[in-house]
């Protein structure tokens, strides 16, 4: 089977009910471990390799963080949208793949939902 236009293959990784909000599942696609996260109803797929020291980033803490604020102010937010690497704690924005403190980014994969199925494009 040849690759479709765009060079990507579609993989059904789960039914939507299997990955509720705040939950992740690690799947293996084409020999790569990929974390599929449900972030407040939106599905994102992330290569399980931290761009810093190649740690299994998708095993890290999922939660919120302190938002940029004035000195001495503490404002908690973005609950469920931030993934912290289990090795060095680098924080990543799961919605964009951006690191909050470095130019290196998570490798993200396109995700679509069709007929209750979560499909990752690799």
């Amino acid at each position: 089977m040849g690759r479709p236009a765009g060079g990507k293959r579609r993989y059904v990784v789960a039914r939507t009910g299997e990955i509720p909000s705040g939950v992740r599942r690690i799947v293996e696609l084409e020999g790569r471990l990929i974390g599929v996260f449900n972030v407040h109803g939106r599905y994102v797929a992330v290569l399980n390799v931290c761009p810093h020291e190649l740690a299994p980033v998708c095993l890290g803490r999922l939660g919120g963080t302190t938002l940029p604020s004035a000195a001495g102010q503490w404002v908690w937010g973005r609950e469920g949208e931030i993934l912290a690497c289990p090795w060095h704690g680098w924080e990543f924005d799961l919605l964009t793949g951006a690191c909050l403190t470095d130019r290196r980014r998570l490798r993200m994969y396109e995700v679509t939902v069709e007929d209750g199925q979560i499909i990752v494009m690799v």
Binding site: L54, A55, L59, G60, R61, W87, G89
Partner: protein, 357 residues
């Protein structure tokens, strides 16, 4: 040049508290079991925890908590030829104001590792922990265990009441030299117990500040060791600064050499430049390796001191700020990699070329 082996100079196994308790005499055992294990830590907030959350087996057991797990899930995975085990949960007790409890705990923990861990895997080597604030008791512990197979070093906290060059600590160095053991210091207890404030400016307000400033105590101890003449008095002594990174060293020694030229009269036993003394006696471990934006800047720092002779790879496994062997190695020029990754440590700790068993 390919890396031909890996020796890891800083691994942190955690003893089973029940096993430690069994080896403690009374009245310390009941106290330890009650949860009163020492002076405690400052408990600055590290949101990641100090231990890597993924350093667990499939059954959820901590890898550093078992000799078998550590061998299989760390040494095997990274093909570590030898690893220096620097025990967890002991550096804090080194800052206890109660010297007898501190010494008893250090002995119990040392016995757990020497008798229960070292026999499990021939790649393990051990640093005996001592509580340095009673130097006679510390020296006694070195003499008790210093000749045991697999013991390669003496370990002390870098959090301290006064700098380690001072004469009161010299019995520790005498005992270490007697047994051919380097003395290592390791950060993490700065501000704990009877230590001074964690920085020269006092108490910082966050883990980020505290952790960044830890190297300050290394600087203070190093200056003290050199200027007090420890390496003149103990010409065979080797000192290892574990977990301070490396890039801070050259500019500090420039300052020290410059001041020595003007102030030699205040330390007349210094018969040569302080930096020369350091390069003969002091070793650094790589982690947490500095990560400048331009990697060539790190390599430039290496040109400013004999890094090929005094820098040794360390992972700090399983702590949150550890480095993998490949991540550390690639920072060094190819010509220096085998020196850093195993040759310097092999010579310092007298490790045979082929691992036994």
């Amino acid at each position: 040049m390919a890396i031909t082996s890996i020796i890891d100079a800083d691994i942190h196994p955690a003893p089973d508290p029940a096993r430690v308790a069994e080896r403690l005499p009374e009245p310390w055992r009941r106290r330890y079991l009650s949860g009163n294990t020492g002076p405690g830590y400052l408990n600055y907030w590290n949101p990641n925890g100090v231990h890597r959350s993924d350093a667990v087996t499939e059954d959820g057991e901590r890898i550093e908590g078992s000799a078998v797990h550590l061998a299989r899930h760390f040494f095997d995975v990274y093909k570590i030829e030898y690893g220096i085990l620097n025990p967890e949960n002991i550096l804090g007790i080194g800052l206890s104001p109660e010297p007898d409890y501190a010494a008893a705990q250090a002995s119990a923990i040392n016995d757990v590792f020497v008798e229960e861990w070292l026999p499990v895997d021939s790649r393990f080597r051990y640093s005996i922990a001592v509580a340095p604030n009673d130097p006679e008791l510390a020296a006694r512990e070195i003499r008790r265990l210093g000749n045991r197979p697999g013991v390669v070093q003496v370990l002390m906290p870098s959090g301290a009441r006064i700098p380690y060059g001072q004469r009161t600590f010299h019995p520790i160095y005498a005992a270490a030299v007697e047994h051919g053991l380097p003395v290592a210091i390791h950060p993490g207890t700065e501000g704990v117990g009877i230590s001074g404030a964690p920085t020269a400016a006092g108490y910082p307000s966050s883990y980020l500040e505290w952790h960044t400033g830890l190297v300050g105590s290394f600087m203070a101890h190093l200056i003290s060791l050199v200027t007090e003449g420890v390496f003149i008095k103990f010409p065979e002594l080797k000192f290892v600064l574990v977990e301070g990174g490396v890039c801070w060293l050259p500019p500090l020694l420039w300052r020290l050499d410059k001041n020595w030229r003007a102030l030699r009269q205040t330390a007349p036993w210094l018969d040569r430049r302080p930096s020369e003394i350091v390069f003969e006696h002091v070793y650094l471990t790589t982690q947490p390796i500095e990560e400048p934006d331009r990697p060539e800047h790190f390599k430039m720092m290496l040109e400013m001191f004999p890094a090929d002779r005094i820098v040794m790879f360390s992972s700090d496994f399983p702590h949150w700020d550890g480095d993998t062997p490949n991540f550390a190695a690639r920072n060094f020029p190819a010509s220096m990699r085998n020196r850093v990754m195993h040759e310097t440590a092999r010579a310092l700790y007298r490790l045979p070329e082929v691992a036994r068993g």
